[in-house]
C-alpha cells in the first residue's frame, strides 16, 4: 500500500527511526501495520486528507521542531560520507548521549523537551527515536548547579506525571565513529533495563550486563547452576547476596538494610561457603557470584 501511495505522493516518507525527521511540514498517519508515514502538507488538499483518514489513522504526536544543532548532530551521526563543500561542524565541548524512555502516551515530546531545557537552563539537542524514546545530547559544562539524572527523574515524575528511564553514555571528545557509538549505545540501552530495576544506568554499570549477554544461553545457565548450586532458586538468599553487593560487601550495612542481626548474616554467609565453597566476602569471589547472578537473569 505504501508503494502505491508513494506513486501518488512523491514526498511520502516512512518514519522508521531517528534518521528520518518527523517535521511539522508533514502530515503523519499510522497504517494498520503500525508504520508511521508522512506526506508533505503542500502535496495534500483537504480532500486528500479526508480520503486518507478514511483508511489511515492520523498520527497526532507533535514533535518539537528540529533545531539547527540537532540537524548537525544528525548529519554527524547518520550520514555516511562528509557533505561536499560544507565545512564539517564539530561540537565545542565533550558530550555524551543519554538515552531516555518513558511509557507510551504519558507525555508529549514537546512538553518533555521544555522540561529538559528548563532543567539544563539552555537549548538541549534531543534526537527522537519515536514519541517515547530517544537520546538527549548533553554537553559537558562546569556548572555547580547541575543536578543528577536520579533527581531529573523525580522532578519530571512530579511535574509531568511520567516515569522515565535513563541510560547515560560515556563522555566523548571526538566525533570519529560516532555512528558506531550511537548504534552500540542504542543497542545496549534496549537491553539494559531487562537486567536491573534501577531507573538510571550508566555505561559503567552496564558493562557486566553487556558482557554477560554475549555468552550463549546454555553456557549462562550452566555457569549460574555450577556457581550457585541449589541457591539458584532461593530468592531470599539471592536477595541477601544482592544487597550485600549493593552495600559494597559491608556486613553491618547489609544487616541494617535487611533488618538482620550481623551475626545471623555472618552465619548465612558461612552456610553459603559450606554449600558452594565460595566466600563472597572476598572480592574476586564476589565478582564471580555477581556474574553468575546476572547470567541467571
Amino acid at each position: 500500500m505504501i508503494d502505491q501511495l508513494r506513486k501518488i505522493y512523491s514526498t511520502l516518507q516512512v518514519y522508521k527511526d531517528s534518521s528520518d525527521e518527523l517535521g511539522i511540514d508533514y502530515k503523519w498517519f499510522t497504517t494498520d501495520n503500525h508504520e508511521v508515514i508522512g506526506i508533505r502538507n503542500d502535496e495534500l488538499t483537504s480532500k486528500d486528507i479526508s480520503l486518507l483518514t478514511a483508511f489511515l489513522s492520523p498520527y497526532n504526536v507533535k514533535f518539537p521542531n528540529p533545531t539547527d544543532v540537532e540537524g548537525k548532530w544528525r548529519k554527524l551521526i547518520f550520514s555516511t560520507e562528509p557533505i561536499e563543500g560544507e565545512k564539517e561542524w564539530k561540537p565545542s565541548n565533550p558530550f555524551r548521549f543519554v538515552y531516555f524512555s518513558f511509557n507510551k502516551d504519558q507525555v508529549e515530546p514537546i512538553l518533555f523537551k521544555d522540561a529538559i531545557e528548563a532543567l539544563f537552563d539552555k537549548q538541549v539537542s534531543i534526537l527522537w527515536h519515536n514519541e517515547h524514546e530517544g537520546f538527549i545530547i548533553e554537553q559537558q559544562m562546569v556548572d555547580e548547579d547541575s543536578i543528577s539524572y536520579d533527581q531529573i527523574i523525580d522532578i519530571l515524575m512530579s511535574d509531568l506525571y511520567v516515569k522515565i528511564n535513563f541510560f547515560v553514555g560515556p563522555y566523548k571528545k571526538d566525533v570519529n565513529d560516532l555512528s558506531l557509538h550511537y548504534k552500540s549505545l542504542t543497542n545496549v540501552a534496549n537491553q539494559v533495563f531487562q537486567y536491573t530495576n534501577k531507573s538510571v544506568v550508566t555505561y559503567v554499570d552496564a558493562i557486566p550486563f553487556i558482557l554477560t549477554k554475549q555468552t550463549d544461553e546454555g553456557l549462562r545457565l550452566d555457569i549460574s547452576k555450577t556457581i550457585l548450586h541449589e541457591y539458584i532458586y532461593d530468592e531470599e538468599t539471592i536477595k541477601m547476596i544482592e544487597t550485600f553487593f549493593e552495600c559494597n560487601l559491608n556486613l553491618s550495612e547489609t544487616a541494617k538494610v535487611l533488618h538482620l542481626h550481623r551475626n545471623s548474616l555472618q552465619y548465612r554467609l558461612d552456610r553459603f561457603v559450606d554449600k558452594t565453597g565460595i566466600d563472597i566476602r572476598q572480592f574476586h569471589n564476589a565478582m564471580t557470584v555477581s556474574l553468575a547472578l546476572l547470567a541467571r537473569k
Binding site: 547541575s146 543528577s148 523525580d154 515524575m157 509531568l160 536477595k239
Partner: protein, 365 residues
C-alpha cells in the same frame, strides 16, 4: 477531598517478579496513611500504581467512586513528592512552584494565585525571588512541598521524601509535613522504610513485607498488638525480643528457665490448644525491668542474665544479654552502673508480652 480503594491489586513486572499481591485497602478521606516496610517490599510499586505511573496487573483502583485503572496519571488529580527531590536549579522559588502549571498551560493569573497561596501557607513569601542555591535545606524542602500544593490535588503521594535529609532536618520536616496536613486536610499516602517516621506521622499505617500487607492500624494499635512476628519485630526500636520455648502447665519454659504466664494469656493459650507446644514469646525491651520492686513483685518471671554489651544512652541503658543461649535486648534506667560481663536479675513483664505460633508466626489471640 477523596477516598481511595484498592481491591485485590497485584503487580507483576515484566521479569515476572511479583512485587505486590492481594492488596486490599480503603484509604479514608483526609487520612495520613503511611506505607511502611523494609526495602523491596513493594511500597513504591504500590504508590506508583496509585499514581498511574505503573500499570496495575490485576485488581481495581478507585479514587472517590471512580475506577481509575485506565485514567492517565495527569488526570487522576494527584500531586507527588519523591525521594530524590530537587528544584530547578536556575529558577527562583516562584518559578519553581509555577513551572509544573506553566507546562500544563494554566493561565498566568491562576498560576500567580496558586503560587502566592502556597507561599503563604509555607511561609515562603519573602523568598520568592531567591534561587535554590540561596536557600537553606529546610526552605528548599518547603519549596518542594509548595510545588505539590499548587496542584490543588485531591491526593498527595509522597515516596520517602525525607530520606535524603540529615537527621535534624528530617525531624523538623516531619513536623512541618504534619502541620501542612492538618491545615490542608488533603488525603495523603506516605511511603517510608523508617518505622519511627511511620509511627510519628501516620493516622494509620500499613505494614508491608514481600509485597503483602501484614497489618493495618493506628500506630499505637500496631505497636501494642502486632499481628505477627514480623510486625512485632519491625515496629519499635530497639526491636521486640523473640524467645523460643514451650508452654507447659502454667509456664513458658526455655530448658531450665521458667516464666509464669499470667492468667488471661494462659487461658487463651490453653483454649487455642497450645499446652505442651512450642511457641514464641515476644517482649519489648522496655517491658524488661531491673528495679527491685519489679523483681520482688514478680518472683516467677525473673531471669538471671549475663550481660554481653551495655550501651549507655543517657537516661537509659540498652543491655544486650542472653538467656538460655537466646539473645535479647533490655532497656532499663541507667541508675546503676552495669557493664559487660555482669550477671543481673531482670523481671519480664509478661502481662505486656505476646505469644506467637511457632509455625505460622501469627500472634495467638
Amino acid at each position: 477531598m477523596a477516598e481511595l480503594k484498592l481491591v485485590n491489586v497485584k503487580k507483576v513486572y515484566d521479569n515476572k517478579v511479583v512485587s505486590v499481591e492481594d492488596f486490599n485497602l480503603e484509604i479514608r478521606d483526609k487520612e495520613f496513611l503511611v506505607l511502611v516496610g523494609p526495602s523491596g517490599c513493594g511500597k513504591s510499586t504500590t504508590l506508583r500504581m496509585i499514581a498511574g505511573l505503573e500499570e496495575i496487573s490485576s485488581g481495581d483502583l478507585y479514587i472517590g467512586d471512580k475506577r481509575v485503572n485506565d485514567v492517565p496519571p495527569k488526570d487522576r488529580n494527584i500531586a507527588m513528592v519523591f525521594q530524590n527531590y530537587a528544584l530547578y536549579p536556575h529558577m527562583d522559588v516562584y518559578n519553581n512552584m509555577a513551572f509544573g502549571l506553566k507546562l500544563r498551560k494554566f493561565k498566568k493569573d491562576e498560576i500567580k494565585k496558586r503560587v502566592d497561596n502556597a507561599a503563604k501557607i509555607l511561609g515562603l513569601e519573602n523568598l520568592l525571588n531567591r534561587k535554590p542555591k540561596a536557600l537553606s535545606g529546610g526552605q528548599r524542602q518547603r519549596v518542594a512541598l509548595g510545588r505539590a500544593i499548587v496542584r490543588d490535588a485531591e491526593v498527595f503521594l509522597m515516596d520517602e521524601p525525607l530520606s535524603n535529609l540529615d537527621a535534624k532536618l528530617r525531624v523538623q520536616m516531619r513536623a512541618e509535613i504534619q502541620k501542612l496536613h492538618s491545615r490542608l486536610q488533603t488525603t495523603t499516602i506516605y511511603v517510608t522504610h523508617d518505622q519511627t517516621e511511620a509511627m510519628t506521622m501516620a493516622t494509620r499505617l500499613v505494614v508491608m513485607k514481600d509485597g503483602i500487607i501484614q497489618q493495618v492500624g493506628a500506630p499505637k494499635e500496631v505497636y501494642d498488638e502486632p499481628d505477627n512476628v514480623f510486625v512485632g519485630g519491625f515496629i519499635g526500636s530497639p526491636a521486640m525480643n523473640f524467645l523460643n520455648g514451650k508452654l507447659i502447665g502454667n509456664y513458658f519454659i526455655m530448658d531450665d528457665v521458667k516464666l509464669l504466664v499470667p492468667d488471661g494469656r494462659l487461658k487463651i493459650l490453653k483454649e487455642r490448644g497450645y499446652d505442651g507446644k512450642d511457641i514464641i514469646l515476644g517482649i519489648r525491651p522496655e517491658d524488661i525491668n531491673d528495679e527491685q520492686v519489679f523483681l520482688d513483685f514478680s518472683p516467677e518471671t525473673k531471669v538471671n542474665a549475663s550481660v554481653e554489651v551495655a550501651e549507655l544512652m543517657g537516661a537509659e541503658i540498652i543491655l544486650y544479654s542472653q538467656v538460655n543461649n537466646q539473645s535479647f535486648v533490655a532497656r532499663i534506667d541507667s541508675r546503676f552502673n552495669i557493664t559487660a560481663g555482669d550477671t543481673i536479675d531482670l523481671a519480664f513483664d509478661l502481662s505486656k508480652a505476646h505469644f506467637f505460633d511457632k509455625e505460622t508466626e501469627l500472634r495467638i489471640k
